[in-house]
Symmetry: C2
Subunit: 457 residues, 2 copies
C-alpha cells in the first residue's frame, strides 16, 4: 500500500515535482498501447540511477509493487501496473552518454527514445539495428525489457543480438553492471540477456551499452503484389532459398492497404497482398541484388514488382507499413488487438492460410501485417472493446491462431512479449519445467515479488 | 563416490561398451587444451537424450559430480573434472538432424564437430558464423557451453548471436526445450542464452537449433605489415572509423610469425606484426572494399599491404593464423598459456603496448596473436609447466594483464570462458552482487551442485 508517508519519502528521494499522485496524472500511466489498463498508486520520475536505487529499496522494504515504464508502446499489457503500487517513469533519464564510431557502440540511459537516438547515430553514419515500428515513442529501456524486434529482424535479428552490457538496479536497490563495452564477452552467466526480455520482472534497466553498425551506403526499396495471401509465404521462402538476406520484407494485406489508404490517402493499389522489400549494400551492387530479388518474386507468384524510384516514394511505402496499426484506430474507430506469432519460413504459407481461415471462422475482422521476412505474422483483430462478446471472440481467435502456430513449430510471441494477454498461453510453449525454472529465477532476483508482479512469471 | 554399483547401473543405461573405467581411458578424459588436469572416476558415452537424462538422474540422486565434455579444446580448464565423478562424453551424439536453407537453420546434436558441420553446410551454400580456431575438433555443445567466439567475431559477434534454441537435460533428468526454430522469439526469460556460456554448470546441452547465413559470394584476403605492435591497434580503429565491417582481422606478432614459420615453413616475412584481413561480399564490390581497406591501413601506419592472389595463398595465411597456437608446442617444446582479453577498439593501442611491457617485466616469453578486429587479444605465454616457478611467473603476468585490461574498460574473458584459470578474477570484473546472483541461479538449476562443481560459480 502506498501511504502518504511513502509518497512523502518518494518526494524526498526524487523531488516533489517528480512525484505524481493526482487521479489525472495516474490515469496517464494506467495504459500502454494494448487494450488493458491498471491504475498505479503513485508515479515517480527519477533523474539518476541512485534515485532509482533508493525508490526500489523503499518499495522492497514495504513490499510495494513496482512497474518500470518507458514509452508505454507495449502491445501485450507488459507495462500495466495491475497491482497498483509505484510506476517508475524512466523517460526522464534520457541522456545519450556516448556515441563511439571507433568502438561501434553507444552508451545510453534507459529513457532515451529510439527515434531520437537514431537521429544522433545517423550524424555519425551509424545505426542500431533493432527497429520496432514504435521507434518514435519507444524507449531503449522498454525495447530491451521486451526484447523487441522490428522490420530489420530478417537481416539483423532482434534486440538481444545488439546489446553488449547493462546497468541494472535490483529490487534490493543494489546496482549491477552486466557484460562489457567490448565486442566479445564470456565472463560468467549471461545476465545481460536475462534482463533483455524480462518485462520489468527482475529489476530496472537504467543504462545500456548498444552495439552499432555503419549505415548502409544504399538501399533499394521494392513492392511486390500478390493475388493470394499464402503466396506471400511461398515468395519469402524462395528469397531465402536463393541465399538472399533481405534487410526488410513487410506484409500488408488488402485490409491493411485499405486502412492506410483511407487514413493517409496514399493511393496504394487495392490488391490482396503487397510486400515491401528492402535490400541494402553498396551502390552499384545493391541494384543488382534488387533485380535478382525482383526475378525471384515474379517467379514465386507475385503478379507485379515495382522499384521505388525516388526518396519520396520510398518514404511513402515505409510510412504505409508503420501506419498500418495506428490507422485502424482512426479508420474503424475500433481497437486493434495484434497477434504476434512467428513460424519457420517453410511453414509461412500454411500459417497464413490457416490464420485467415481461423479469423474467418470466428467472424473477427482481421488485417494481416507482419515482418514476414523472418516469419513474424501480425494478424490484427479490429474490436470494439466496449463489447465484451466481441473482445471474447477476438481473444479466442487469437488463442486458436497461437495454438495453430505452435502445432507448426512456431512461437506464440515473436517480439511483443507475453504481458497479460499471453500469460495463460506461455506454458503451452515453454512447458511446465521451464516455467518452474523461470519462476525460481524470478525469486532469485526479486524474493518479495515486487517487480511487475502477477504477470506471466 | 562412483562405486561398482554405480558403474554397473551406468552400463545398464548406456551399454557396457559405452562406459569407460580403466586408468588409460580415464587419463584421456583428464585433460582439455589447457595445462590443467583432473581424473574422472568413470566416463559414459551416451547415444541419446534419454540416456543422458538417466545418467543425470542417477548422479543427482547420489550427488556424484558430472562434467560434460565435447572436443576438450577448452583453453581455461572448463571441461576438467576437478572433483572426479562422471564425465559425459557427448561426442557419440553427433547427428546432423536437419539443414534447412529456406529456414536458415540447422538442428544438430551437441556432439557434432563444427568442422564436419561446416562441410555439410557448405554443400547447401550456408555457414554458421562462429568459428573458434579449434573448428576441426570442437563440438557444438562445447562451443555453446563456452560461448565461443572466433575469427569472424568482428562482423558476426559470437555464439550467443547464432543460436535459436536448445534441448537441455537438467541435473534432475528433466528435459527442457528453450527458444524456438523461428528467427524471432520472445516467450519468457531467455534460458537459451543462460545455457550458452554456462560451462556445463547448469545442465547438459543435447541439441541445438543454429541460425545460419548464406556463404559470401567472394572473399578478398589481405595482409598488412607493421613495424610496431601498437600500430596494429591504431589501424584497426581506423578501419572501424571508416565504417568498414571487416569479416576477420587477425594479428600475428613477430614471435608468432617465427613460430609458424619454423613449424610449417610458410616463409612469412619476419616483421614486428602482421594482420590478416578478410573482407567479404559480392564479386566486383568486394575488390573495391578491399582497396579501400588497403588505403586505410597504409595511412594508419602499415608499411606494406598485400592481397592474396590465389586460393593457395589465401589458405596459407589462414593456416598460419590457425597454427599459431599449436605451433608453440611443436617449436618451443613448451606449453602455451593463452590469455584472452578484450578491450574497446579505442583502447587497443594502449592495451597492446602495456601487455607487452607487462610480459617483458615478468620476463615471460610471450607471443601476441588475436582476433584483433574485435579487440580480442591473445597474449600467449610459453611456459615449461614442469617448472613451478615459471608457471607462477606466467600466471602473475596473466593476471596483471587481465587487471590492466579491466582498468581500460575491457573484459578478462572474451571467448575462452572462465574455467579454472580465471575463477579468482571473475569477481573483480562482475562484482560481488552479480556473483551472488550467478551462484543463486546455479542453485536453481542444480541444487545438489553436481554439474561441473567447484569451478567459478
Amino acid at each position: 500500500m502506498v501511504t502518504d508517508d511513502v509518497i512523502e519519502e518518494l518526494r524526498r528521494i526524487v523531488g516533489s515535482d517528480s512525484v505524481l499522485a493526482s487521479y489525472e496524472d495516474l490515469y496517464c500511466y494506467s495504459r500502454d498501447a494494448s487494450w488493458y489498463s491498471g491504475m498505479p498508486e503513485v508515479v515517480v520520475r527519477p533523474h539518476s540511477t541512485e534515485e532509482v536505487s533508493k525508490v526500489l529499496k523503499l518499495a522492497n522494504s514495504l513490499k510495494i509493487p513496482v512497474v518500470p515504464q518507458g514509452g508505454r508502446t507495449n502491445l501485450t499489457g507488459g507495462a500495466i501496473p495491475i497491482r497498483g503500487g509505484i510506476v517508475i517513469d524512466m523517460t526522464g533519464m534520457n541522456r545519450i552518454i556516448e556515441i563511439s564510431k571507433i568502438n561501434m557502440i553507444c552508451i545510453v540511459e534507459a529513457g532515451v527514445v529510439l527515434g531520437v537516438l537514431e537521429k544522433e547515430l545517423a550524424k555519425h553514419g551509424l545505426f542500431w539495428p533493432p527497429d520496432p515500428a514504435s521507434t518514435d515513442s519507444a524507449t531503449i529501456g522498454g525495447i530491451l525489457a521486451e526484447g523487441a524486434g522490428g522490420l530489420r529482424g530478417a537481416k539483423y535479428g532482434t534486440t538481444r543480438d545488439w546489446v553488449l552490457g547493462l546497468e541494472v538496479v535490483l529490487p534490493t536497490g543494489d546496482v549491477i553492471n552486466t557484460g562489457s563495452a567490448t565486442l566479445k564477452w564470456s565472463t560468467g552467466y549471461d545476465l545481460t540477456r536475462l534482463f533483455i526480455r524480462s518485462e520489468g520482472t527482475l529489476g530496472v534497466i537504467t543504462k545500456a551499452i548498444l552495439k552499432l553498425r555503419p549505415l548502409p551506403e544504399a538501399i533499394v526499396r521494392m513492392t511486390a503484389f500478390f493475388n493470394r495471401l499464402e503466396d506471400v509465404g511461398v515468395a519469402v521462402g524462395k528469397v531465402w532459398e536463393a541465399g538472399v538476406v533481405p534487410l526488410i520484407m513487410e506484409l500488408l494485406d488488402r485490409g491493411a492497404i485499405r486502412s492506410v489508404n483511407s487514413y493517409l490517402n496514399l493511393g496504394l493499389p487495392d490488391v490482396e497482398a503487397m510486400v515491401i522489400i528492402d535490400v541494402d549494400g553498396v551502390k552499384g551492387e545493391v541494384e543488382k541484388q534488387a533485380s535478382r530479388v525482383e526475378k525471384i518474386l515474379m517467379e514465386a507468384g507475385a503478379f507485379d514488382v515495382k522499384t521505388a524510384l525516388t526518396k519520396e516514394e520510398m518514404d511513402k511505402l515505409y510510412l504505409a507499413r508503420r501506419s498500418a496499426y495506428p490507422s485502424l484506430f482512426r479508420v474503424f474507430k475500433k481497437t486493434a488487438i495484434p497477434d504476434d506469432t512467428c513460424v519457420p519460413i517453410s511453414k509461412l504459407p500454411e500459417a497464413l492460410r490457416r490464420a485467415k481461415e481461423i479469423s474467418d471462422k470466428w467472424g473477427v475482422y482481421t488485417i494481416f501485417i507482419g515482418h514476414i521476412g523472418d516469419g513474424n505474422m501480425h494478424p490484427v483483430f479490429c474490436v470494439d472493446v466496449a463489447d465484451p462478446k466481441e473482445v471474447d471472440k477476438a481473444l479466442k481467435c487469437y488463442e486458436e491462431i497461437c495454438r495453430m502456430v505452435l502445432s507448426l513449430g512456431g512461437t506464440i510471441a515473436a517480439e511483443h512479449g507475453i504481458g497479460i494477454v499471453k500469460s495463460k498461453l506461455i506454458e503451452e510453449e515453454c512447458g511446465g519445467k521451464a516455467m518452474e525454472i523461470m519462476k525460481a529465477i524470478k525469486r532469485v532476483f526479486d524474493p518479495n515479488n515486487i517487480m511487475n508482479p502477477d504477470k506471466w512469471v
